[in-house]
């Protein structure tokens, strides 16, 4: 009973795993480039949760640091990604990722 009442490591890991799943799902299925990018963010955040959880249960600050950096990187990535997506929109008049496949095979 105890592991249901008190929140343990497994809960965090499960959440992060679920987040990761969602993220991958979004990346693979959504048509809109923006949503795809949000999926990427989800993946990164799943990693973040792991880091924080592990850092809490292992002790030591590395995890926290890592999480902070990941957030920063995610922000930067979002910026670049948006720039590219906007450019895509200018050229293709759409942000449908699946329709952009002029180069193949």
């Amino acid at each position: 009973m105890e592991q249901f009442t008190t929140i343990g490591l497994n809960h965090y890991l499960t959440i992060s795993a679920i987040l990761l799943g969602f993220g991958l799902f979004a990346v693979m299925t959504r048509k809109n480039a923006i949503v795809v990018l949000m999926g990427v963010e989800l993946i990164l955040n799943a990693a973040n949760i792991n880091f924080l959880a592990f850092s809490k249960f292992n002790g030591g600050m590395e995890g926290v640091m890592f999480a902070l950096f990941v957030i920063v990187i995610a922000a930067a990535e979002a910026a670049i990604a948006l720039a590219i997506v906007i450019n895509i929109f200018k050229l293709f008049k759409s942000v449908d990722v699946s329709s952009i496949d002029s180069m193949k095979e």
Binding site: L44, N50, N58, E62, F66, F69, V70, I88, S102, M103
Partner: protein, 511 residues
């Protein structure tokens, strides 16, 4: 639970930081160069001149001086083990700076830039930034550093791939590169988090000690290895993490294609070797002991798949850039062979192969660009009869391709020779891999030779309207590359010695 550090400790920290900075000069210098370029770009806005490119060239060239100074420094950790300085890292520093220089030269030769973008703008700055990122990739000894440097490289890569804003292919390439890269690195970070969870460490050496001491839950470990490998594999463009590369290579500006296919690939390998050799070295042990850390067989899979897939699919390509993209996948496979062996000879072979690949691939792309300047595209069909019109270019390209196949007397042959030697030095253990390598290189001959075949053996369909005369400078540079390819194919002692010297990795526990 976290008590603040005392003043003394802070003093110590600052002192050690100061000490570390002394070992960090090339990176700092390059960062300065990066900013300088941005400033110059702002100042010299709009004006079409080679100011930027020349500055970049000189700047990058200058950095080699600082790198050279580092030979005298002792190998060791900096910044609390975030970063290491060793011969291995030095090798890649040279490597990346040189490839940066070549990228700039190749860019200068490419006339497409004049058509596509009105000002070269921050392009060179980005290249320098990428150099910095890759140098740091090769030197990072900590998961965090690895992640940061890799992202730096990736971001600059995205931007450079999409640099031709008004070119749909270029932008498409950028998008694909972005999405794929983001996912892979995301997965990698997830893997890092798991590793951190298992070992409570982020420093590679500490991780390896931890694993050696307490072992690990193999299931989690294999999961972590897998996803981390996804991140690295995406950088080195090995099957099955290669999917982005053909499209990106085709779409991106040709200099960037060359740059990515050589430099960022190399950076990926540097990272791969450092991570696996140092963090999980006992992955090299026989299967029964390395349950859960079986990354060697994993790499074998990757390399065999890459060699076969890359070469086989390349047979079908009509576009030379795309063809070279697939061939670069195959070459990733060959290089992986050297890593799998997990021996000094293997490391040496890998580095040597990277050097040879550097020469021949840049050479090939350079000629492709020069030809594209005249013909306007990279279609195989338009290569018909070019060998007659521009014999020098034809000869040079042939040499580079032969070297890519791995026939003597070219540097490519030496690379293959070392790789196979490393494999066979272990007796018949890795003979199967060697066989695959040999077979696929025979296959590769077929599609590589398609290019000379079109250039020399066939007459061009359309009458040649404009002259195919090349300028002097490109011709000279091309010839230099060609001669280097040949000379190092015959007298490869310097390369090999350099590779040997550089195969020393800090904190390595190979046997």
């Amino acid at each position: 639970m976290f008590e603040l550090p005392s003043g003394a400790e802070i003093q110590g920290i600052i002192a050690s930081l100061k000490a570390s900075v002394g070992f960090f000069i090339p990176e700092i210098y390059l960062s300065v160069l990066f900013m300088l370029l941005i400033v110059i770009d702002l100042v010299a806005k709009g004006r079409k001149n080679n100011l930027l490119s020349i500055t970049t060239l000189l700047g990058l060239a200058g950095s080699t001086i600082f790198i050279y100074q580092q030979h005298s420094l002792p190998a060791g950790e900096l910044f609390f083990g975030m970063y290491v300085l060793d011969e291995f890292a030095l090798f890649f520093k040279y490597f990346f700076v040189l490839s940066g220089i070549l990228a700039v030269i190749v860019t200068m030769a490419d006339e497409q830039f004049d058509r596509e973008v009105k000002s070269i703008g921050e392009y060179y700055a980005l290249i320098v930034a990428m150099v910095i990122g890759m140098i740091m990739m090769a030197s990072s000894a900590d998961l965090l550093m690895i992640f940061l440097s890799m992202e730096l490289v990736s971001f600059t890569g995205y931007l450079l791939a999409g640099y031709f804003k008004r070119n749909s292919r270029s932008s498409e390439a950028a998008l694909k590169y972005l999405v794929y890269g983001a996912v892979s690195s995301g997965l990698m970070v997830y893997g890092f988090s798991l590793i951190y969870g298992i070992t409570a460490q982020t420093n590679l050496i500490k991780i390896s000690l931890e694993l050696a001491a307490h072992g690990s839950d193999s299931l989690v470990m294999i999961l972590a290895t897998l996803v981390v490998l996804a991140g690295f594999g995406y950088k080195i463009g090995a099957v099955p993490f290669h999917f982005w590369s053909p499209d990106v290579y085709e779409g991106a500006p040709t200099p960037i294609t060359a740059y990515l296919s050589v430099a960022s690939k190399a950076a990926g390998f540097a990272l791969l070797m450092r991570f696996f050799y140092i963090a999980i070295p006992h992955g090299g042990l026989p299967p029964e002991d390395k349950l859960g850390l079986d990354w060697v067989s994993l790499l074998m899979l990757l390399s065999v798949a890459s060699m076969i897939y890359g070469n086989v699919v390349a047979l079908w390509q009509k576009n030379v850039k795309r063809l070279l993209a697939y061939s670069s996948i195959a070459h990733a496979g060959y290089i992986l062979l050297g890593i799998i062996v997990m021996s000094d000879l293997g490391t040496q072979a890998t580095l040597l192969y990277l050097l040879s690949y550097f020469l021949m691939n840049f050479g090939a792309f350079y000629v492709v660009i020069l030809i594209a300047n005249k013909t306007g595209n990279e279609n195989l069909e338009d290569y018909r009869g070019l060998g007659i019109k521009m014999p020098l270019a034809g000869a040079a390209l042939t040499v580079f391709l032969i070297s890519l196949v791995g026939l003597p007397p070219t540097v490519g042959f030496i690379g293959k020779l070392y790789i196979f030697s490393a494999l066979l030095a272990k007796g018949s253990l890795y003979l199967g891999l060697a066989l695959v390598g040999i077979m696929t290189s025979v296959i590769s001959l077929y599609y590589y030779m398609l290019i000379p075949l079109n250039m020399f053996l066939r007459e061009s369909k359309k009458p040649d309207e404009k002259s195919m005369k090349l300028d002097l400078a490109p011709q000279i540079f091309m010839t230099v590359l060609m001669i280097l390819t040949l000379v190092f194919g015959i007298y490869f002692a310097p390369l090999s010695d350099f590779a040997k010297y550089s195969s020393a990795m800090f904190g390595i526990t190979l046997h």
